[in-house]
Symmetry: C2
Subunit: 78 residues, 2 copies
C-alpha cells in the first residue's frame, strides 16, 4: 500500500488516467495495482498494490507517469 | 478511509479482534467497515469504511474498542 501526499488540486479523473498507465506497464514488472482511493480535498492518494517488493511497485509508477509515492508500506489485509 | 498511526507492537491478530468488534457494533450506526490493512513494522492500520459521515465511523471504533483513528479521509475509489 502506498501513499501520495500533498498532491494539491488532484482530481479523481487525473488519477484514473495515471492508474490506466500503471496497468499498461505493470505486467512486465510482476506488479498488480489493484485499487486506489483519492482524497481530492487533501490531495492524498492511496494505492493498493501486489508486488514482489516495494521497489518493483515504485518502478511501475516511475515508468508509467513519474509520480512515485511518498510512502510504501508492506501490509497484511483483513 | 481512516489511518491509525504509531501503534507500536500492533499485530494483525489484535487488529482482527478489534475489527470483529467493529462488525458487531456498526449496524446501528449505518456503518460498514469493509477492509483493513496492517503494517506491523511501522504500527500503522488503514481501514476502508462506508459511513454516512466521518463521525459515525469514529463512533463505531470508539464504542467497539476505543481505538479511534488519527485521520479520516473521504475518498473516491478507483
Amino acid at each position: 500500500m502506498d501513499a501520495h501526499k500533498n498532491m494539491k488540486g488532484v482530481t479523481a479523473a487525473a488519477v484514473a488516467e495515471a492508474h490506466a498507465k500503471d496497468l499498461k506497464v505493470q505486467g512486465k514488472h510482476g506488479v498488480n495495482y489493484r485499487h486506489y482511493w483519492v482524497d481530492e480535498q487533501n490531495g492524498t492518494i492511496v494505492c493498493l498494490v501486489e508486488a514482489p517488493n516495494p521497489e518493483a511497485a515504485a518502478r511501475v509508477h516511475r515508468e508509467a507517469h513519474g509520480l512515485v509515492a511518498d510512502e510504501i508500506h508492506e501490509v497484511k489485509e483483513g
